[in-house]
Each structure stands twice: as structure tokens, then as C-alpha cells.
Symmetry: C2
Subunit: 288 residues, 2 copies
DNA sequence: TCAACTAATGCAAAAACAGCATTACTGATG
DNA sequence: CATCAGTAATGCTGTTTTTGCATTAGTTGA
């Protein structure tokens, strides 16, 4: 059984037409017909019901289509990862991170990487869903920065630092002079509280602990946007202190009691030396 | 790339010896050598470092060995499952169940199955670890009976019935005449409370709710054994009412307030008609 | 220096595969 | 009812790939 045969099968299962499929996979109709027959023979499973005119998946065929699509993707991903390991330092490594470290920690970290492994190529992504666990284990990413600790037997985690979260207000806001009072009357520009991200849940907890039902006028998950709107006087927000490094005009940060952590996460028993080196450097930063 | 090549690779990765490997996989050494070369060529990844005398896995090779062992197993399991679907009613379906339904529900259910689908072949297992979720999704089982509801988007669950849990005591035990008092002085024969099974956690809750620290003299997860020891007067136990159907001599059941449920669980969108029919029959039983 | 080991390779036979042309059957059309 | 277009399977032939044998070439230890 060939991986290629499985790919042919998957295209045919979608097209349900030998000629079209043959064209798509760049072989002749007769060859395709025989490849599929060979596959059916080897598996001893009928995949398609076909008469001289129609092609239809059997139940077993439908099942294999579902399952194989997934497995073949995983398969390809594994090979891509193996290539990275084979390339060694020349390979590209993927890093995912929460937007809140864009202005402060991340640039510093990238500078350290560049000084120590100048030949390293990086791919940076800010994941929309925050399932770091899955992203790491399926090799879609190599290093994941996260705000909460990942608890998984196959993932190692290390806390890098804690920082306060802050009220973010325009310059000259009354909060800066008086005590923080009647916060409930303020308009908030804030990430959607229904989100499942760790920061959203921290915000929910903070609001409920302080018995505040915030008046949210704009929801945005993009910190840069929030800062900008606050600086224009459209409302106030709550963000980790790191955002101060964005150096936006007309903004002040008021530290709150609450703190938030930053973790670095990676696959246990990583074999890729470049990734191992990056982790070491992160550990080094923490020790300082 | 052939599945077969990957299998060759996996054997060689373990043996690290071309001749031995060739013998094990029933091809000649030269053929094996060329198959591995072809694999390396196609992947563009060096899998082994070899001189004229030694064979050693590269890092990328180690990685692929780890990953492929797993994927190939999943692959085989998928094909086995597809075969079952292809066989239709003639196939064997796998059922896992908690020991507590051995004497009451399960025999009745098997009778219903036998009356309705006499040609069905069954494989029954009492899983030691209770990870029904994984067993179902990896196709190691087809139908899982469980005491707690499985919450997983890819698994469907149905509650079949509730039953009380009972104190199980020898005949003529004082509890049968008086109120249940000074239970703390009784010796318990019971499943290990540290277990992660749903029943163990239910027991823990019950004991703590009633502020009892049970004196456990024998731990056993096997209901039949527990019944036997209770009947011999060695202690008392707590079990679901179902065990009454075991019809052991010299035993009485005292119903408690607490109840426990039985669920049947299966993969959503099951394609195997035999499995679908079994689920239907289970639903039918419930409606009665 | 020699013998034992072991992975790679040249070679010829065998097997598998590819594509062309054709067959065989189905449905639709007039 | 005859004809035609559509479609999957198959016979055939040339090409490519794979196989195993025998041999080579490098390594290790005596």
C-alpha cells in the first residue's frame, strides 16, 4: 500500500469520477482504476460501489475517507517536522505568542536569539484559538508562550515572569488623581469576556471579585487597537503592564493588585537541537 | 512511499542491523538496503548514519521512529475498523463494561442482542483503566457502558437507568434490624478509594458526606470477590443494587439514598450498521 | 597481514506499472 | 427502437522498478 494510493483514493472519494480524478492527479484513467483496484485488493475492503456509469462510496469507504484525511495530514506534518530536525540549525522554528508580549518581552527575546543563533529562521504566529497544547503536539508550533501553565504530561512548561495588570487610561484621567471610584461608570474597551482565553477569564474573575459589571462599548482582542482608542479618549481598558512599552502617547497605566504570568512551553524530549537551544536561551533570560 | 517501507524502517531502527532486519522482514539484504535508500531519497531526510560496519539512527530518524510507531498502529486499527464495517453484520463488535453490570443488566442485554441479531459476534472486555473516551475514539472498543456520562463532542451518550447503591451485609447482621449506626466500627471490603473510577469517587463523596472514615480491611475491585467475602462474614461493603442478581447466599442488601447511573456510549456518526443496530436495541430497552 | 563482518552495488531476471486503444454497459434523446 | 454520449474496466505492449545473487569495499580485531 502506497501513501500515493491513499491520496488517489481521497481525491476520488471527493470527486466520485474516475476521469476527473485521473486528470487532477496527473495519471491516466486506466492507471487510476487499477490503483484503486489494487488498494481494494490489498485491504480486502470494497471502497466504492461502481457500475459502468456511477461511482459511490461504500460505508467502509466513507469511514476510511474521514479517518485517512486526518491521518495523512498528521503524516505530512510529521515529515515536515522531521525535515526541520534534519536541517538542524538551518531549519525554521515556529513560535506562537499572546499579543500582550508584542511590545516588551518578545522583541527582547528575539534580540537574544539573534545574538546567539544568528542563522536561525523564525515563524511567528499569534494564534486565534489558544489551544497551545494541540498546536505543540501536532507540531504546528515548536515554542508556545502562554499566560497560563499548560498541564500535560508531554509538554514542559517554565514560568518566565509575572507582571501586574493595569488600568489603562488617557492622560489627565481623574483616576490618576483621586482614588479609583465609580469605575462602573467608565466605558470599557476590552477583549470579549466570553472568550476562553486565560486573560479573558482573569478579567471576568477580577470584575466579579470587585463586584463590577463593566460597561463595554468596544470589544477588541488586539492590544494595539485598544491602546489607540484609549489614547483618543474613547474609554479605558485593562491590560498587562507590558503594553506600556508600546510607548503610545497620551496614555497612563495604573497598576492593580492582580498579576499575570508568562510561561514558555515546549514538547518534552524535543529532538530538534535548534529548538532545544532556544529553550535554553529562554531559561537563561529567566535566571537574570 | 510505501507503508511497507515504513515498516522496514521501523524494524531496522530497532535492530540497527541490515542483515538481521532483512531476515526478519523476509527480503534480501540488498533489497532492504535499497528500500531504505529509496525512503531517504523520497523524504530527502537522512534516517541512518552508517559506515561499512555500524548503523545508527540520526535525530530525525529517532523522531520518525517515535512518531511512526504510533501512526502505523493507528493506521492498522483504522483498517481493522473499516473491515468490520465492510463485513457488516458478520463482523465482531467490541463492548466494554463496568463489572457491576455483570450479573444483572449485561446478561439481559446480551439476550436481547441474541434474539434480534443472532449472527452478531461480540468481544466483551472489562477495561482496567476506565478511559472509555480514548478506547472509543481509537476504535479499540465500539460500545462502552459507563457509570458516568462521557462529555466529549465526538461521543454520544445515553442514560439507561439509575439504581440505588446498597450496604451489603451478611444475613442476620444487626444493621438489618436496628438503624444503621456506628457504621464506623464495621470492617469494609471495598474497591480502593484512591482509584480514579467514577464508583470510587462516588464512595469517597458518600463517606465524607456522612462523615465516616471507613476501616478498610480488604481492597478489591472485583465485585464477585467482594460478595464472596461478605457472605463469609469477613466484613461489609457498598455496591450497586445490581449485584443482588448474583444470587450469592447469606447476603442482604440495604438500599441507601444515593443512586448511580448506567450510560451507554458510542462514537458519533457511527457508520457500522451492526453497531448502529446494537445502539438502537439499547435505546429500546430504555424506553420499556 | 589476514580473516570476519557488514553495507553498498553491478547485473540480469522478474514483477509491477503506465498509457493507448478498445470493450462493455448505461441512460438519455429523438 | 436506434443512436449517441458518457464512463469504468481491460487487453496489450513498452517502460520502469524491484528483486536476489554475487561481488565489492571498507572496518575491526586477532
Amino acid at each position: 500500500m502506497t501513501i500515493q494510493q491513499i491520496r488517489y483514493f481521497l481525491v476520488l472519494a471527493k470527486e466520485l469520477h474516475f476521469w476527473n480524478t485521473a486528470e487532477k492527479v496527473f495519471i491516466s484513467q486506466s492507471s487510476l482504476s487499477r490503483q484503486i483496484q489494487a488498494l481494494e485488493d490489498e485491504l480486502q475492503i470494497q471502497l466504492f460501489e461502481r457500475d459502468k456509469r456511477n461511482v459511490k462510496l461504500t460505508n467502509a469507504g466513507k469511514f476510511l475517507q474521514e479517518q485517512w484525511i486526518e491521518k495523512i495530514n498528521e503524516f505530512d506534518q510529521i515529515i515536515r517536522q522531521a525535515k526541520k530536525i534534519d536541517d538542524g540549525k538551518a531549519g525554521t522554528i515556529s513560535i506562537t505568542y499572546p499579543g500582550s508580549i508584542t511590545y516588551d518581552f518578545l522583541p527582547k527575546f528575539l534580540e537574544v536569539l539573534n545574538n546567539n543563533i544568528p542563522e536561525l529562521k523564525l515563524e511567528l504566529t499569534e494564534p486565534t484559538d489558544e489551544n497551545h497544547e494541540k498546536l505543540l503536539l501536532s507540531f504546528e508550533t515548536d515554542i508556545a508562550f502562554s499566560r497560563d501553565k499548560i498541564k500535560n504530561a508531554n509538554i514542559d512548561s517554565l514560568k518566565l515572569y509575572s507582571e501586574p495588570i493595569c488600568l489603562v487610561v488617557p492622560k489627565n484621567h481623574r483616576f490618576l488623581k483621586n482614588n479609583i471610584a465609580e469605575i462602573e461608570n467608565e466605558k470599557f474597551i476590552i477583549s470579549g469576556l466570553h472568550q476562553t482565553t486565560f486573560f479573558a477569564s482573569l478579567l471576568r474573575t477580577w470584575f466579579s471579585k470587585n463586584r463590577i459589571e463593566p460597561k463595554i462599548i468596544i470589544e477588541s482582542d488586539f492590544g494595539g487597537m485598544i491602546l489607540n482608542l484609549v489614547s483618543k479618549g474613547l474609554g479605558i481598558s485593562i491590560l498587562p503592564l507590558s503594553f506600556k512599552s508600546a510607548l503610545i502617547e497620551n496614555i497612563e497605566f495604573i497598576e492593580l493588585e492582580e498579576t499575570i504570568d508568562l510561561y514558555i512551553n515546549w514538547r518534552q524530549n524535543e529532538l530538534n537541537n535548534a529548538i532545544k537551544k532556544v529553550i535554553e536561551l529562554a531559561e537563561g533570560i529567566r535566571e537574570r
